[in-house]
Amino acid sequence: MNVVVTPAMLGQVVISGILSGALYAMVALGLALIFGVMRIINVAHGPLLMLGAYATYFLSTALGINPYLTVPVSMAMLFVVGVLLERTLVFRVVDAPELSSLLLTFGVSIALVNLAQLLFTSDLRSVEYLTGAWVVGPFALSKSRVVAFVFAGALTGLAFLFLGRTKLGKAIRATSQSREVAMVCGIDVQRIHLVTFGLAAALAAAGGALIAVIVAIQPEMGQIWTFKSFLVIVLGGAGNYPGALLGGILLGLIEQVASLFLTTQLSEVVAYVLLVAILLVRPTGLLGGRQT
């Protein structure tokens, strides 16, 4: 309120924004893949992230594994969960009206959160591994966030390599451009859906694993991430996978800068107004749509 914003402060929040933006981008890429390939908004994306966070928590506290080494394990576990979810429930609503998939994944979402409450209790848990900051001039760089940034960048890069270079990745992109054409080309669309859903869950899990080192975790931590991820893919352009990267960083920056000049309450308002404005003016997102 009564604080004059200096360039150093602006610099600090820009750093914070970019650091969290990379995480947003990675998590949102998962949602974007599902949306692109299956035309579904997976409301359970955030709760899957929560499960990833718990996987890391238990692996690192119970087995004493370095939390960053648990990231691939947590991803693998959630890949399996994602595949199971797709095979049992989600595939049934792929071609249904959007209400069906929204509600179905919402039902899955609250069930997952409740299961987590029953199994893990609502107590906060935290992985105290890397706290504090590296101080560089007037700026403080949170250690855990910088590491998360590096991980998120690397994993997102790997995901793009997979999408761009491998046969399976190309098949995923082809399916997201046109399912009919993909089928004609002999792509097993069912299998693509399965892999996509698993991959998306793994990306969410990676986000959860990294977040577990940054903030304390609890069963309800995930829901907010579904909405944020959707914001990101709208900003970047749905179906445009590199757009998620831009969208993520942008959302991180918007949130932080708006919180700095206004209040944290109002930063939500800013993000939403922007969402609607972009949808109306440029429905294909800032980078334009569907050029994968």
Binding site: F35, I41, L89, R92, V93, A96, P97, E98, L99, S100, L102, L103, L104, F106, G107, V108, S109, I110, A111, L112, V113, N114, L115, Q117, L118, F227, F230, V234, T263, Q265, L266, E268, V269, Y272, V273, L275, V276, L279, L280, P283
Partner: protein, 307 residues
């Protein structure tokens, strides 16, 4: 089944409900009042989403807007609650006008998420303008025991929403809305002014929740941002409509009654697994009976479209 019975049954039920507060306990009145509220909410959601196919994922926003408009008029301006409730409905319609004009141009999931965001934004704005709304402190209304009169007004609102649904479904306006639901491009090609039709349906769907919100605020005597804008309320109204049968007249009524009673009688005994049960129910409804109870009956027994 003659037409006379079809008409007589609802009238008999309405008369019974009108006499109910005389014999019922305080809790029974309040529980029935809640059922009325859910009929208003579910029926209103049905008007926009059941008929046009535009999924409003933030319909509780209109409930919250009505609650705040009503509560502010009652507590700050000393209005009688009935007038405040009507203005609450008006405020919700106004909000729908401002929001609907841009947002109804969005298609499919984009509209759903924009509505979800609207709800979050309203909550943030209400918290922010604390001079008027009390912010996070909420608003406390003067003490007044008006549960029974509110029961009647909420009941009348539920009847009004249901009759409105019937009138729309049997009208040309309703037919056009359903054409939009089936194929919006085709509807436009047929010369239907889709933007205007969607907007009208949207405005009508906002009035009921607005009135219900203001009545609820008065009855509870206290509101706060978190408790009048919960996503769970939107989801519950959607599931009620889906369960009963979307796009039908009686579907929302059926869904509201069955689900509320189930919630109150069965689920309240298992508080720790309540969300799990609700999640399972949602999944079951979506997968096993997407047309709802009435939808299934319509197909099986060739019932009229206007049930």
């Amino acid at each position: 089944m003659s037409q006379r019975v079809a008409l007589a049954a609802p009238v008999a039920v309405a008369l019974a409900l009108a006499a109910y507060p005389v014999v019922a306990s305080g809790y029974e009145v309040r529980a029935t009042l809640q059922i009325f509220m859910w009929i208003v909410l579910a029926g209103s959601w049905n008007l926009i989403s059941g008929l046009t196919g535009y999924v409003s994922f933030g319909h509780v926003a209109f409930f919250g807007a009505g609650a705040y408009a009503g509560a502010i008029l009652i507590s700050k301006a000393g209005w009688p609650w009935l007038a405040a409730a009507l203005v609450g409905g008006g405020a919700a319609v106004l909000l729908a006008l401002v929001i609907g004009y841009p947002c109804l141009r969005l298609k499919g999931p984009y509209f759903a998420i924009a509505m979800l965001g609207l709800n979050e934004v309203l909550r943030a704005l209400v918290s922010y303008f604390e001079g008027l709304t009390g912010g996070g402190n909420g608003l406390s209304l003067p003490t007044l025991d008006a549960t029974v009169p509110i029961y009647y007004v909420m009941g009348l609102t539920a009847v009004a929403v249901t009759v409105l649904t019937y009138l729309i479904i049997t009208s040309r306006f309703g037919l056009r809305l359903m054409t939009i639901r089936e194929d919006e491009v085709a509807a436009e090609a047929m010369g239907i002014d889709t933007a205007r039709h969607k907007l009208y349906a949207f405005l009508l769907s906002a009035a009921g929740p607005g009135i219900a919100g203001a009545l609820t605020a008065r009855d509870q005597g206290y509101i706060e941002p978190i408790s009048v804008f919960p996503l769970a309320t939107t989801i519950t109204m959607i599931v009620m409509v889906l369960f009963g049968g979307k796009g039908t007249v009686w579907g929302p009524v059926l869904g509201a009654v069955v689900l509320f009673v189930a919630q109150e009688v069965v689920w309240a005994r298992y508080p720790y697994v309540h969300p799990l049960l609700f999640g399972a129910l949602i999944v079951a409804v979506v997968l096993l009976m997407p047309r709802g109870v009435l939808g299934i009956l319509q197909v099986r027994y060739r019932l009229p479209r206007t049930i």
